[in-house]
């Protein structure tokens, strides 16, 4: 369950933000992520940001996978 997509916070106004993904934008609620800042990527579920994505962790995971040797 739980369709949630990563979107970029473009601007914040009170408890709401304008978030953008792939060229579409939507007003989202920051009630669950008051710490979110402009420039953060957040996961949007039913119009609410449920988490701020950890970009470093994302990069690390990808890096780890890149370094996996080709296994035969």
């Amino acid at each position: 369950m739980c369709l949630a997509i990563p979107a970029l916070i473009k601007s914040i106004s009170g408890k709401e933000a304008e978030a953008e993904i792939g060229g579409i934008s939507r007003r989202v609620s920051l009630w669950l992520t008051p710490e979110a800042k402009v420039g953060d990527y957040v996961l949007i579920h039913t119009g609410y940001a449920i988490n701020v994505l950890d970009q470093e962790e994302a990069l690390e995971t990808l890096q780890l996978l890149e370094e996996l040797s080709e296994v035969y």
């Binding site: 369950m1 739980c2 990563p6 992520t33 008051p34 609410y48 995971t61």
Partner: protein, 364 residues
Amino acid sequence: MRFIDEFRRSDLAQKLIARIKQKALSPARFMEFCGGHTVAIFKFGIRQLLPPTIDMLSGPGCPVCVTDNSDLDKAIALAQLPDVIAATFGDMVKVPGSHSSLQKAKAEGADVRIVYSTMDALQIARENPSQSVVFIGIGFETTAPTIAASVLQAEQEKLDNYYVLSLHKLTPPVIKALLDSGEVKLDGIVCPGHVSTIIGSSPWEFVARDYGIACAVSGFEPIDILLSIEMLVSQVEDKAPKVDIAYRRSVRPDGNRRALELMDTVFEPCPARWRGIGPIPDSGLKLRREFERFDAELAFNVDPGPTYEPKGCICGHILRAVKTPMDCELFATLCTPEHPVGPCMVSSEGSCSAHYLYGAAYEP
């Protein structure tokens, strides 16, 4: 699109698949708990790419599928009240209750509106002050905090025409109930990534510790799912069950503290009936006393009448992973997405729906 494209890369997927094939020497049975994972696995064709030693089972993590008929009937009865606008997520609209569905009720004149967010439901409440907006609250811990936030917001704005029918459920209790039933033998569980974004990965530790079952918390992109399966395979081969996090960019051991606070402020655990499984203590959420005035069940008097379960429907067995859709006599004959008998077929992430739409038969 960032954080999606990178986690769909075919080259990285191939590496993970190769590693899984290399490591998965003994037969293993894994359950993907979450309906969203079932859909992703089918959509990306992941079962096809895994070695034959791995058996994937679908679990009960579909909040629509596990909504008891009596609760559905209640929601429909509320929608049919005059001056009530029922706001609901799209998932619920076609699910058949004992006699009707929200969609059928709408066709017969009930004011049922599909919304993407409780923010939209609040807006409907603001724009229709002389009517009552009842939000049909389904979903697990990913969604419940958003409904909690909407209640707090309604309170702040002194919106007196916003109500919630809380049908929310909690996930660790149902996994425990499933494991305690002894009906299914599992070696590992792909744990729900967005639920865990909220509750953290630590609530799953009891699964590894008390039942010796491997756990990996997974996101919903193919790389996440394959990585989580690779982690499960490693744990099984090493005979060292624990809770791994494959979805590190979103899941931390403690989860989202603010979201948990919101949920705890507005809701408290209560017993809940899970369709096909029965009552499980402390597995549902109800509005706390301080927020009683938002509770649709208290504000409106509805008696939907006796519940009726369709004959031949084995959704319960499918939700408990003791049978698969192919075992059901009604599957693809009397029960199709167009004429669903049970919720597993109607919900877009029900096991039966996924099997029907994405084709149980794969090609080489």
